[in-house]
Subunit: 160 residues, 3 copies
Amino acid sequence: MSNGPNPEKASMIVFSGDMDKVMAALIIANGAAAFDIEVTMFFTFWGLKAIQKGNLTGKGVMGRMLGVMNRGGLKRIGPSRLNMGGMGRWMFKKMMKKRNVTPLPEMLRQAQELGVKMIACEMSMQVMEIGKEDLIDGIQVGGVGSYLAVASESKFSLFI
Amino acid sequence: MSNGPNPEKASMIVFSGDMDKVMAALIIANGAAAFDIEVTMFFTFWGLKAIQKGNLTGKGVMGRMLGVMNRGGLKRIGPSRLNMGGMGRWMFKKMMKKRNVTPLPEMLRQAQELGVKMIACEMSMQVMEIGKEDLIDGIQVGGVGSYLAVASESKFSLFI
Amino acid sequence: MSNGPNPEKASMIVFSGDMDKVMAALIIANGAAAFDIEVTMFFTFWGLKAIQKGNLTGKGVMGRMLGVMNRGGLKRIGPSRLNMGGMGRWMFKKMMKKRNVTPLPEMLRQAQELGVKMIACEMSMQVMEIGKEDLIDGIQVGGVGSYLAVASESKFSLFI
């Protein structure tokens, strides 16, 4: 937040909507922001789920079908492995709580408070029929150019 | 293509053969190339499917089995999620068309026209019994060293 | 190992515990190390399996359940695709052997001999109830800060 005139930058493409990968992305983002690195997260494809409010989305028949099958929101996403119909999600939350790991929605809030810039991929939103009103507050909408502009200046850039 | 004497560089390892990840890789590659960045894509493991012609491959019993189970070609690959035996692929293509997103084979052609350098991983080709004649035109074959040489000079390098 | 006073650096987050992705990570690491690049691998989440001895882990009920379902060790992990209940793992090993590809445990040993620095993610170890005694020798334990410190100085940094 209080970075100097030429702060270091880092960027991430959050492509995955899996709970564990989104968590890894946020831990890196918040860690980097705490080190005064200017972080930009570009959410695309399934990664949009991490910044959706969680309501049903879609306008056409297929868009609405996708909205049901691929419902967004941090409370709904499960891990990439061992999800077992939601049991994995429940189990991971429990194990994280036991070890005092910050819950995912709070990690996201922290990221926003630390000034992590979040961009939602415009093309993915159009294809998946997800509107700006379906996203949480504080998200910009942009194209691949907005990622590339910051990726070129980044100390590191990850595809997650 | 008309980059200056010391153009910026970017590189990607395309490890995944999923339709959605290959699409993300090509969107980034074409976007970067349009910004006069010299892009190198290194296709390895399942990522080889994106640059295969689509014919059956393999010489030995196992190689031919793998060729059937893991058949390449941009028209055959499905998304990493919600593929549902090919229905997802069909649905995504339809939703992309509705929003005028360039189809995948055309994106690949554009990338080649924009001068994106494509390298197929030699070791993966040998292990999976995929020959140079199984790949589309304009692909170089190389080892991990050819990736590392460009990765060290890249503004950003992604593992997709 | 015999890097000069300011060697080039590269870093990787090994998030995945899939055999094929771990192999890709080690091939890149060993290739880079052979080019005198100082490589740091940060193993987190499922990636910890690659540096586990392979014994059963966990203390509480859920930790032990996870230890069974997600048992570590390079000999147990299977590929991200076409594993088919272990058949894929067997088939890949066979195809790799036929082409004289170094087996995974030997690749890991080579990486350590080449001076590749390996860090296990402390938080993941705590959440998954994996102890230092469950890891192979020569692994440091550290937080996200230890990754970020090297990522900022890296020529390239990958999320695998």
